[in-house]
């Protein structure tokens, strides 16, 4: 089953995929989706949120907890959480969501050979 990020609202219970590879560098995360070879960089705030997405709490609850922890306005945190959750869903990093297909010419398909080497000289 794959969902649409349009359906995500404050009642949504997000769960990060556990079959991605993650590396933390200087409070930021780089997430590798091995299905596509794509890397996703999460800034320090998104990194904290990512670590909370364990499938136990809905976004409204997470917003209250994070607002309390960081002394921030709950409504603003909820809005930011919704935006981030939809982005993570579009990127296929949440359980139940597949990554958006790239626009033609926007990205290499996952099985395309790298176009790095200078092509052979023309005839």
């Amino acid at each position: 089953m794959t969902g649409s990020s349009d359906t995500i609202d404050a009642a949504f219970v997000p769960q990060r995929r556990d079959d991605v590879a993650v590396e933390e560098l200087d409070d930021e995360l780089v997430v590798l989706d091995e299905r596509t070879g794509r890397l996703h960089v999460l800034n320090p705030t998104a990194t904290v949120v990512w670590q909370c997405l364990d499938g136990d709490a809905d976004l409204a609850t997470l917003a209250v907890e994070l607002a309390t922890a960081f002394g921030a306005e709950a409504d603003a945190v909820r809005a930011d959480l919704l935006t981030l959750a939809r982005q993570l869903a579009d990127d296929g990093l949440l359980v139940g969501f597949e990554p958006d297909s790239p626009e033609p010419g926007d990205d290499e398909p996952p099985d395309a050979p790298p176009r790095l080497l200078t092509p052979p000289p023309p005839t």
Binding site: A21, E23, L25, D26, E28, L29, V30, L32, E34, G37, L39, H40, V41, L42, P110, D111, P114, L116, L117, T118, P119, P120, P121, P122, T123
Partner: protein, 288 residues
């Protein structure tokens, strides 16, 4: 297709990463040109190489094969040499991807550490490498930097620097000597220049990674270097990694992150070669 004559000159053995090869060439002028160009790939201690390129022909018409596979037929010397260097590059990179993270990058060394310059084609890697060699940096590659699986060291692929026609006006004193009996087409097109042909030019076999700078040439732009977050650097460098796909992806990702974690990282807009080299050197010295 003509066979290589019995009087062919044997060049090599050479080694480019794991690609070990020799060249047989029955055209004296082309053989002399290649012997000079491939000097930094020479592997004199090696046994007879497992693969042989054969260049055969007269005047400016040559055939090129690799272990019997035809790579070029009745081609100009310029095209045949271009195809030979392209094939060597491809095989060298393929030979290393199983146990290295091979990055499309120039690499140079100073103070015992390696600077990696990852970039796509036409970004100015070779030009920057040439400029830094002339400032005393040791050479590892202008094409491929092979990171070890633990991300700690960079292994050299010291091919001749391939200077494209569009950059030759910046490096006019890098024009390689062409033997008098070499075909005239070798005087045009891409130059193949070994780093050791430059005064003070030297090659190092490997070294620990110390810094990563992602260069981008912008005509007329002001040269500027901007520090880059390590996480962003991982994502940017990954776009320059050969074979970034398949079941080997995870360890390559982990090795790349490990390498970036212990490196200083920046991006560089190059508008002027001298300014770019000076900027890199200031940034490098600040980190030492």
């Amino acid at each position: 297709m003509s066979a290589v004559a019995a009087t062919a000159t044997e060049l090599g053995p050479y080694a480019g990463l794991g690609h070990r090869f020799g060249v047989r060439c029955d055209h004296p002028g082309v053989a002399a040109y290649l012997e000079a160009a491939f000097a930094t790939l020479a592997d004199p201690a090696a046994d007879s190489p497992p693969g042989w390129y054969a260049l055969s022909g007269i005047d400016d018409r040559l055939d090129l094969t690799y272990d019997g596979e035809v790579l070029a037929e009745d081609a100009s010397a310029r095209r045949a040499v271009g195809m030979l260097t392209w094939h060597v590059n491809r095989c060298a990179i393929d030979s290393a991807t199983a146990d290295h993270v091979v990055v499309h990058a120039a690499a140079l060394a100073r103070d015992g550490h390696v600077l990696m310059l990852p970039a796509a084609m036409e970004a100015g890697k070779t030009t920057l490498a040439a400029g830094l060699i002339d400032r005393g940096w040791a050479y590892l590659s202008d094409e491929a930097a092979a990171l070890t699986r633990d991300g700690r060291r960079v292994r050299a692929y010291p091919k001749p620097l391939s200077v494209d026609p569009g950059s030759q006006h910046l490096l006019d004193d890098w024009a390689p000597p062409v033997p008098a009996d070499a075909p005239s087409s070798l005087r045009a097109g891409q130059w193949q220049v070994p780093a050791t042909s430059r005064a003070g030019g030297r090659v190092v076999a490997d070294g620990p990674l110390g810094g990563i700078v992602l260069p981008r040439y912008e005509q007329g732009a002001e040269t500027r270097l901007t520090p880059l977050a390590r996480a962003v650097t991982v994502a940017r460098v990954a776009t320059c990694v050969f074979a970034w796909q398949g079941p080997q992806l995870r360890w390559r990702f982990e090795a790349l992150a490990s390498a970036v974690r212990r490196s200083r990282c920046a991006e560089l807009v190059v508008g002027d070669l001298d300014a770019a080299c000076a900027t890199i050197e200031r940034w490098w010295e600040e980190g030492m």
